[in-house]
Symmetry: C2
Subunit: 196 residues, 2 copies
DNA sequence: CCCAATTGCAAACGGATGGTTGGAGATGCG
DNA sequence: CGCATCTCCAACCATCCGTTTGCAATTGGG
């Protein structure tokens, strides 16, 4: 039959468009709530292409999580060795900024934890988290690896929390906005680093 | 037609059973992922009863959130006036314990933030959060109301985070378990209180 | 005891939805 | 240029699912 538009090939662009649309739709509505029709429409591609490139809805979700969250913690500017609590504070600010410029990242983290029993691309991402914890350990001489992991976990939890627990934020700190929350988190990260 | 079992009335029990089943199913799968058939089966009640008592699926979800999360922060043992950073630390431990004994609470908080634009029963819950922030302010003389709100928000975010960002916890702190995480959070809450 | 109102159930409805199918159009190679 | 293969689309399928319907059973008041 005649199609609405001429149908040129662009395999890489189609796949990327589906990943981008999938990221938007899964961030907004989660795995269960996202609709294949909506993903296709958002991508400007027929939804049948998802099955060709990713296998099924779950395959696309895993691909989106791996693609978007693969090096989330490393994407924020890391503290320098020996930079101490100030370096950790700056890292918290940079991570918060990362979430602020791409709020779908925090939301995808939250959906992943609620809807999946295991993280997408867990082995690679766990290795990257270990590297990032090592970076924090080198910023704070004397910090054990386990303590660095706990510190990093708290910083990520606090920074992402503005988006992952947005309703809680609205009720507990109704007068706050993102810049105010960022400032508090930078101070709190420094305090956590000092106490670590 | 003949029913599978005799059909006695118990209005209050039926409503409670649906709330309890709804809490379990919504905590596990979220609003979009929960199934009305499964809620009815879990409650041991015909799913049609949800429409009689709560209007529709969304009405049940709102009722569950209001019922389970209404006084979440107050349910944990509050710090005494003037009890200082130690009181805040103990409060963090109590809140973590609250989440540990009823992990559906943290998950419901997260689903609410991801799936709704506004919290259920927001006015009442915001008032309760303000009261709880006042309790923290009285525990730490000199703490401003806004700073108390930010401190409370960070404590809630950190305590709930073990469940709301469970996959992140597994990747960032793979060797940690709940008791270890609890101990770190108690220490971290004390550090945050000192810096507030 | 009778009857109106209420509660509860099984079955059905209409629309939604993930996934599949058949075929058109594009590409690349001989 | 012809043909095999690949990419893409529109339409369809089978099942799912929130909600409604018709009626049975229970309850309580006169």
């Amino acid at each position: 039959m005649r199609y609405a538009v001429p149908m040129a090939w662009d395999t890489a662009a189609t796949r990327q468009a589906l990943l981008d649309a999938g990221a938007r739709q899964f961030a907004e509505r989660g795995f269960a709530g996202a609709r294949m029709d909506a993903i296709g429409a958002d991508a400007g591609v027929n939804k049948e292409r998802v099955y060709q490139y990713f296998g099924n809805k779950r395959g696309l979700f895993d691909a989106v999580l791996a693609d978007r969250l693969g090096d989330l913690l490393g994407a924020a500017h890391a503290p320098s060795p020996g930079s101490g609590a100030a370096g950790i504070a700056a890292y918290a600010g940079a991570l918060f900024d990362r979430f602020a410029e791409r709020p779908e990242l925090a939301r995808l983290l939250a959906w992943e934890s609620l809807e999946l029993d295991g993280a997408a691309d867990a082995v690679a991402r766990t290795a990257r988290c270990a590297s990032q914890a090592d970076v924090l350990a080198s910023a704070l001489p004397g910090l054990s690896p386990a303590a660095a992991q706990q510190l990093l976990l708290s910083i990520v939890t606090l920074c992402a929390g503005w988006w992952t627990l947005a309703r809680v934020s609205e009720m507990v700190a109704p007068g706050s906005d993102a810049p105010a929350r960022r400032a508090v988190l930078v101070t709190q990260a420094e305090a956590l680093a000092r106490a670590a």
